[in-house]
Every structure is written in C-alpha cells, then in structure tokens.
Symmetry: C2
Subunit: 426 residues, 2 copies
Amino acid sequence: MCPTNNPKLTSWVDVSPECEFPIQNLPYGVFQLGDAPPAVGVAIGEFVLDLAALHASGKFSGTSIAADNIFAAASLNGFMGKGRQAWTDVRDRISELLRKNNATIRDDKELRQQVLIPSSDVRMLMPVAIGDFTDFYSSKHHATNVGTMFRDASNPLLPNWLHLPVGYHGRSGTVFVSGVDIHRPNGQLKPDDNAPPIFGPSRLLDFELEIGFIVGAPNEAGHRIEINQAAQHIFGMVLVNDWSARDIQKWEYVPLGPFLGKSFATSISPWVVTLDALEPFRVPSPVQEPDVLPYLKTAAPWGLDIRLEAFVQSAKMSEPMKLTSTNFKHMYWTIVQQLAHHTVNGTAMRVGDLCGSGTVSGPTEDARGCMLEICWKGTKPITLPDGDQRRFFADGDTVTLRGASHGEGYRIGFGEVSATILPAVS
Amino acid sequence: MCPTNNPKLTSWVDVSPECEFPIQNLPYGVFQLGDAPPAVGVAIGEFVLDLAALHASGKFSGTSIAADNIFAAASLNGFMGKGRQAWTDVRDRISELLRKNNATIRDDKELRQQVLIPSSDVRMLMPVAIGDFTDFYSSKHHATNVGTMFRDASNPLLPNWLHLPVGYHGRSGTVFVSGVDIHRPNGQLKPDDNAPPIFGPSRLLDFELEIGFIVGAPNEAGHRIEINQAAQHIFGMVLVNDWSARDIQKWEYVPLGPFLGKSFATSISPWVVTLDALEPFRVPSPVQEPDVLPYLKTAAPWGLDIRLEAFVQSAKMSEPMKLTSTNFKHMYWTIVQQLAHHTVNGTAMRVGDLCGSGTVSGPTEDARGCMLEICWKGTKPITLPDGDQRRFFADGDTVTLRGASHGEGYRIGFGEVSATILPAVS
C-alpha cells in the first residue's frame, strides 16, 4: 500500500472520524475566495488547502511541478496534464506537509493562515475544463430493470450488452458544478401514442446516480490505451447526476440515442477524488459471463467499493429524504474496461475528458439509482414526509447525491453534488 | 442585399472566375507560416490575408474590435465571441480594403507583402476550438435509404423523423482539419449473426458527406434560441466528413446510438464560410408535411443552395474519381430548425460548437452521400479506373469533399476536406 493511504496516518488539521476529507483522501478542486482569482485546492477536514499559495511559498520545490505554479488556475487541467509522476509527487508532498509530525505549515502561523482556508468561506467552481463527456450504461441491474420495463422481462438485455460497455457521448458544455440550479427542460413530448407530439415542459424529470472518471493523461489518435495501462490515464473521480427528461428521451432517442432528454444539464461534485486515494477500495467486480474479448480482460480487480446515496428535499421539506443507497462495486463493467473500450478504435482522449458510469443500481429494490426504477415507471410512487407523492421530480425539489468509501476508522468521501430544479423557462 | 455580397464587386487581388475565394466569399481560417505563431486569415484568390498583421497595422481602427488583436490567435473563437456586430464590422472592413478601387493595401507595397501571403506557403490549422460536436440526420433521402436498407422499405422513416431534426452528440476531441490522415479503427465486429463478436480492423469504413455550422454567439442555460434569432447565433459553415465504421456501428449502436463507429475521427475543411457570404444562396427548403410544431416554424426560407461533391483516389490512382454530386438544398431540416430544436430544452451553446447536418443525400441515385448508400449495402460495388472495386474504403484511399454555391460569374467555395486512410494500428 502506498504510504499516503496508510489508515493510521493522522494530520495536525483536526479531522473527525465522520469527515469525508481525512489525510488519506486529499481530493482536488477549484475554489474561489471572494473576488480573488480561482485556484486549485485540496480538501482537508473542514479546510481547503490553497495549493496556489503553497506553491508560491516554495513548498513544491524539488518536485516535478516546481517550475510553474499550475495551481494558480481555474481548472485542474494544467496540473493533470503534467502526468502521473506529477500526480504522485504532489500527493506525496501534500500528505507529508499535513502529517501530524510535520511542522512546516503547522508551526508557521503566517503560512498556515495563508494556505489553510475554512471551507465555509470559499465558493467551489467547476474543477475541470471538460473536453468530451461520455456516458456509459454499465450497471447490469439498471440495464436489466430498464429492459424489463420497456422491452421484454424474459430477455431484458440487448445482445451487445454483455460483450461491451455500451456508451454514448453526452454534452460537455452543460456539465455544471454542484450548486448550479437546473431549469426543467421544454421539449417535444408524446404522451398519447395515437396523437401527434406536443410541446411543453418535461413531465418526467429524473436523476441518474453515477460516478464519472476524469482522464488526466491523453493518448495519441489511432493508438488505444491498453487495459493494463488504463489506470495510468485516470486522474480521479467525481459524483455525477445525469439529469434525464424521460418523456423527451423516449420520443427522440431512436435510432441515434439520447439527445435533448439529457443535454440540458449534468451536475458533478466539486471535489475530484484521486484514483490513488481509492486504491485501498479496489474489489473484485462481478463475474463476466460470457467471457469478454481479450482487450477487455484484466487480471487485477477493478471494482470499487464506494457507497452511494441519493436524497430529495422538496421546497416544503425541512430536511432531505433518502431515495436510495447503492454501491459502485455492483457495476458490471469497470472503469478500466470503459477506458480500454473507449479507445480501442483509436479515439484520442484529452486531459479533462469525463466518462460517466451510467446509473449505478444495485441488486435490491432499495438500491436503484433513478426515479424511473425506484418508482418503476411511475407505478410505485414514493411518499414524502409531508404526504406529497413523487413519481418524478417537481419544481423546487433539491436532489443531492453523496458517496464515500469506508475504511477502518476513516472514510474517503466525495462530498456531494446537489442542485434544485427551477421551473421551465416559458 | 448586403453590399459585401454584390456580384459585381471585384478585388485588386487577382481572382479567376473558377476560384472559390472571390471578394464576395471572405472565409475565415487559422494559418501558420513556417514557425510563426498561428493567426486568423481570410482567403482571397490564391492568397491568405493575414488579419493579425492587418490588425497590428491599425487597419481595424474605428471598428468594434479595434482594442484587442483577436486575430493573433490559434482559433476563431475570440473573434466569434465578439458577436454579430463585430462579424459585420470586420467583413465590411475587409471587403472595403480588398476592393479594386481601394488603395490602402493595394498601393502600399510593404504592407501588402506583410499581409498578403500566397496560400501555397501556409499550413492551415483547425479553425475553431470546438466545444461540443453535434451531428444531425436531416436528409430525408438519406434517412429513407437507410431505413429501406435496414428496416422496412414500405415504411422507412421512424415515427419521430418528420417531427423533429433527429441528432446526437459526436466527439469534439477527434475533429481534425483537412490533411490529417485517419487510422482505420479497430473494434468489435459481428460479421456472423450466430457467432460471438470478434475483434479487428473495421471492414466497412465509410464517409459521410456533410456540412456543419459553427455557433458564434452563445445562449444562456435554460433559455432557448428562437428560430427567428437562430441565424444571429450562427457564424459560418464548414465541410464535414463524418467517418463511419459501419460494422462497429451496427453492433454497438442499440440503444444509445453511434459511439466508437464514429468517435475515432471527423474531418472538417479549414475555411469557415460565413453565413453572410451564403446569404444570396438561401432558397426554399422542402415542404414539411406533417406540419411542424410552432417552435420549428420560420417564415423566411433557410434552404441553402450549395453544390457538394465527393471524390476517392486510391494509392494506385493518379487522379481522384468522383463518387457523388449532391446539393445541400435538398435537406429536409434547415440549420435554423436544427439550432432552434437543439436549444429548445435550454441547452446552452458555446462559441465554437459544431453542428453537422448528417449525410447530404439528394433525390437521385447519383446524389447519395455515403458508400453505404452509393454501393447500396455493398450490393452495387463501384469500379475504379484501374479496375479495382470498392464497396467501402481501402487503406491508402484518399477521400475528398468539395462544396460551393454558384452565383452569376462567381462562386462561394468551401475549398476541400481531404484525408487518407492509414492502416489500423495493430
């Protein structure tokens, strides 16, 4: 195990056992303090460590990124683009500086005040300038549920599903960071199969509980990323809410796939949890039968044990209500399989590309990752504490996703992605 | 008619009647001369007018873009982002400076040598930093041919096709400028319906003859672009070759649409022909029956009379052979309908977003825009001059698209997009 992942490590920054940002995590984000320029930071306990200020103070001297202050930037792309060695160097250095016995920042009051900012004082921005956004469809439970509802309960999976991680391109320009509220989309709807389509606000607005990985190291056009090299190209992961208007999607999606039913908005969490921090939580992924083609085979396990939850809070509710609890370890297709498949045709990935997992549904009814499944096509509405019902979301509902990997006495958390649904613009 | 479009205008730069870049055109591109930094230029006759140098010489003083030299840049995005008034100002100024009777550059030998560079001396680069790449499916002839081949000849169009411009998101990171050669993609293929998929190079590599428009003015998330405002947001158009691996596509595309069958590469022409230059070539588009929803209705005609051709040249051939001739005016869905539909759900467009038309096929057999249709699913191979046959493309084939609108005694050309197919990387 990498020393930075040692469960026994503690920091001089106070971190409670329930806190999602202990010294083993060190997720990266982009923050803004008042009107100051945006900068890259790392979450530690209830603070943000300002890496731009830390770099300016010379604390990255001797590392591979000493020359340029790549942290004085509005995205992680410059840092990610330096490559895996830089990612390791920086993680090692930050981990050292934050350890209980390291006096460098701890005992330098001026420096400490300069680089350690209370999280409540800052505004989190989009962490990454996303190139392309791909969304996969990698939960067998989700694909089975959808196939059962809309196609054939006795044969719910399409023929290709068990042979390749099905995916499609989403819209990168409408990926928003947590806290940016989302207008209900308008569009063509066809509520009556025997009448022409009508125009209006979506009536079936849904979420999809996902995690996405961010590509940090590119590949050359025409040359694929081998599956055993895939992890070298993945910088980290974020929570993803792939907002979906089921009625727009249903009418438009044949034969070229989802378009306006998804393109209006996707929300992500502001903290990027590195693959390095998630390393201790690798677990075997589900057995794949039939056997996959060699380019999708990996000896090492690449399931990830990340607990995921979704919550809804209507405008009338005083606190959120849990919608579902699931786990990323149930995903049939792993992130390294996704990246190997994505590039097997020579597709060039860029620094900052985002690949969503698809809805993370688990094997049980209470582990379903979208309203379509939770309320089973609207046939099993849920009741909110105030007696209101939901089949899909109403204007004013706030939807929040959370996720964390749980170790012995600590957790590696993603924080949250949260957004409120605003009425459609008329 | 706008004065810059007057067919009688002539330039002191020599332009032959067959040349695609007369003073009525003035397309924008990004060029590089030797090791000098990239800059924005305009094509005029056999020359490139260096707008960065022209700006530096003060020749844009008094216009809305006088303050910053937005042309000293590696993309058109900075210029486009200044908005439609700037587009008009710059076109007006360039048109004036290039007119036969204008002595400003014509008679200033030093300036002329500085700003007017022979096209053969420069390398053309990607004109635009593309945000998202959308591809539509807007030719009724193409959709009908595909539906006839793969679904039902008596009912080839899917139910949604006549109600909305079907589209999907492609991959912006693999859009390459003309001249960048393309590796044949590897992928999962399923040549035998009754056997498992196999892995290997695509055997059915195809092109799609398209035009794409480039968004130059953004809209706010949640707020659509009204159809009668759509043209205010469109900067210009490029030729698009939407490379397609039909065998990869066929196996993967249900239910989420084309992915690796398209994502390896898309080629575009280096010159962006402005919507202003195409204004005289607006023609009525095909009658739409059934009637479309109000948000897709426009009083003004938005068909565009642009003749399009595709050519192939194998490694053994000494000159290209024509594959097809078609016309953009046959498109059922217009560019303003595409943009109005794309944003009707509140999708935010960014400066530099590219929207492809989909394959431009005409009503006749000799006006089909891809090999799938030209060779009718491989059943009608074409014979090259040396006796070789093609159902799809072979390694070493060079595919070239050309396009132009023809006026009285002049033409508004797109130049070409051309690329050679390299063998798959093993």
